[in-house]
């Protein structure tokens, strides 16, 4: 497939580069793991295949071969050959067709998954793009006009539905079933982000703790794949603490001395030395990844136990989804 126009920031990502943080290599990978996983399921990929992550403004892509694709995550009003197409379902696309995107009406990051995955060399066991070190993905950079991407071989599972959908003269065919999990539902768009107390929670003044949980914070435009900066009430420590750098994680919320919040994300550095007021519960990572600059959020404290239970519930839900989708993919061929 060929990139005709690149969009705002379109990169090749997979689940991330694990096992190399101790060498100072960041994890990278998709910002929205949940949506990415659903994308791979929908086109019969094994978990871990690389996809395109698109930000705010999607690219224009010409398909040079017949493919099976799906678009998940933020709604950028996708169109194939100028006809609107539906998200969260497998779509058969005939060679020569052009995929375009329009206005971003929901979310902030959209994912294009292709049956067979996007094939680029694996660097340190991952295909993710590490922009700052210019490693991985497509030549270590965001995609540009004229780039030509290789697509891997479809799985047997994907082939069933591919054959069925391609059984017409139409340039593209959407499957009539879909799967969006919890994504995009009201519960997911209410702007409430569940967090657990961070290591330095008790070092913040009572007043700051209350401001953190009782007031609104706004996502600023100084936000990227490395981290989101929020503005709102200034948060203060009861006394200055000498911090020693230690590992940080996706969703760590730090408070640098100027008092605003920074949430660390996919391209975060491996270690950090600012006081950590909280840590986003992993169940809400997807919600955070989809915030647009200007979005207002509130943080709600949950216990570590609750966060674990919510994680396990989400995983169980994904397992059910996986079973449901493989059933549909199988039926597709009969």
């Amino acid at each position: 497939m060929k990139i005709v126009k690149p969009g705002l920031q379109t990169t090749i990502q997979d689940a991330g580069r694990y096992g190399y943080q101790r060498f100072g290599v960041i994890v990278s990978g998709v910002m929205d793991q949940l949506v990415y996983r659903i994308g791979n399921l929908l086109v019969g990929n094994s978990n871990g295949e690389a996809c395109l992550e698109m930000t705010m403004k999607g690219p224009e892509i010409e398909f040079e071969k017949d493919v099976l694709v799906t678009i998940t995550g933020g709604d950028f009003s996708p169109k194939i050959n100028d006809g609107p197409v539906k998200m969260w379902r497998p779509i058969y696309v005939r060679a020569g067709s052009v995929l375009k995107f329009g206005a971003c009406t929901a979310g902030c990051r959209s994912y294009l998954s292709v049956a067979g995955g996007i094939v680029v060399p694996e660097i340190m066991e991952s295909r993710s793009t590490y922009l700052r070190a210019e490693i991985g993905g497509f030549e270590g950079r965001a995609l540009d006009s004229g780039d030509s991407l290789t697509i891997g071989e479809r799985s047997e599972r994907a082939d069933h539905i591919f054959q069925q959908l391609s059984d017409s003269e139409l340039p593209y065919v959407e499957s009539d079933w879909f799967s969006a999990a919890e994504w995009g539902t009201e519960a997911n768009q209410n702007g409430i982000i569940r967090v657990i107390q961070g290591r330095e929670w008790n070092r913040f003044t009572k007043e700051s703790q209350e401001k953190f949980t009782n007031t609104e914070f706004e996502l600023t435009p100084q936000s990227d794949r490395m981290g989101f900066r929020f503005k709102g009430e200034r948060l203060e420590l009861s006394e200055q603490v000498e911090m020693i750098s230690e590992a940080v994680s996706f969703g760590t919320i730090q408070v640098p001395s100027e008092g605003n919040l920074i949430t660390l994300l996919a391209d975060r550095q491996t270690t950090g030395g600012y006081p950590k007021i909280a840590q986003i519960a992993s169940v809400d990572f997807s919600k955070v990844a989809q915030l647009k600059p200007g979005a207002k959020v509130r943080f709600k404290l949950v216990t570590h136990k609750e966060a674990e239970a919510l994680y396990l519930e989400q995983e169980r839900h994904l397992q059910q989804l996986e079973q449901g989708i493989s059933l549909k993919l199988r039926e597709g061929g009969e």
């Binding site: 100072g24 290599v25 290591r199 994680s249 570590h304």
Partner: protein
């Protein structure tokens, strides 16, 4: 061994080994790291050593599955299960588990175009550039951890006599291999990045190399020494690598 366990969200746990940056704590960090490398815990994704801690990232589902398989305790909390695994791993480490530090020699071409700020560092400390080089090369440095950028070593052991503040406005591009000073720290830039360190020289060695496994020249716990080389030697060594 004294340590504390704390959750870092619901997917990681930090093993805290002390509140002060010291060689003794670093030995504990290395002992645990070595153990985790040789005997990865079931469900562990990776571990990240730092100055006074080791963080274990895990997949809660896999930890839970393993816990159920082994019928250990009540397998309802992945965090509790992984903490149990970490505790029993740490108990395996005896006082005899002292790892010999690797000694690494780093050739550096000081001053000139490769170390444009050496004069500044000298002036700041009322020294000659030769004295700066002497002080920088006579010390032994400990690699406390790798972080900030791929292969970037956080080094301890620099003399206060050659300390110098960061540049007021950072350079947009610092070449890979640059050796610099910022405050009372010295470091080596493994990849070309922007940065505010005072540059005193450059090493021809590659600190980060994707063709090597592991991809970094240095590891936490290494002891390093710098030694001066001429521009001609620098060119020769650099040429020999490509």
């Amino acid at each position: 061994m004294k340590y504390e366990l704390h959750p870092l969200g619901d997917l990681a746990v930090i093993v805290h080994l002390g509140d002060k940056i010291s060689e003794e704590t670093n030995v504990l960090v290395r002992n645990i790291s070595l153990l985790l490398e040789e005997q990865p815990l079931p469900g562990m994704i990776e571990f990240v050593p730092a100055f006074t801690s080791v963080t274990v990232f895990y997949n809660p589902l896999k930890v839970l599955q393993n816990g159920k398989r082994n019928r250990k305790r009540t397998p309802d909390s992945p965090y509790e299960l992984i903490c149990g695994e970490i505790e029993s791993a740490i108990h395996k480490i005896g006082p005899e588990n002292k790892i010999e530090a690797r000694n690494v020699k780093i050739p550096v071409c000081y001053g000139g175009e490769l170390g444009p700020d050496i004069e500044l560092v000298a002036q700041h400390n009322n020294l000659t550039t030769d004295e700066v080089i002497e002080i920088h090369t006579e010390a032994e440095y400990l690699v406390y951890m790798i972080g900030f950028a791929p292969g970037f070593p956080y080094l301890g052991g620099m003399s206060e006599k050659i300390a110098a503040p960061r540049k007021e406005s950072p350079r947009l591009k610092i070449p890979a291999g640059s050796v610099g000073i910022a405050g009372s720290q010295t470091g080596i830039y493994p990849i070309e990045t922007p940065g505010g360190w005072q540059l005193i020289g450059q090493t021809p060695l590659k600190l980060f190399d994707l063709d090597q496994d592991p991809p970094t020249l240095l590891r936490a716990g290494d002891k390093i020494r710098f030694h001066p080389i001429s521009t001609a030697e620098f060119e020769k060594l650099k040429g020999g690598q490509e």
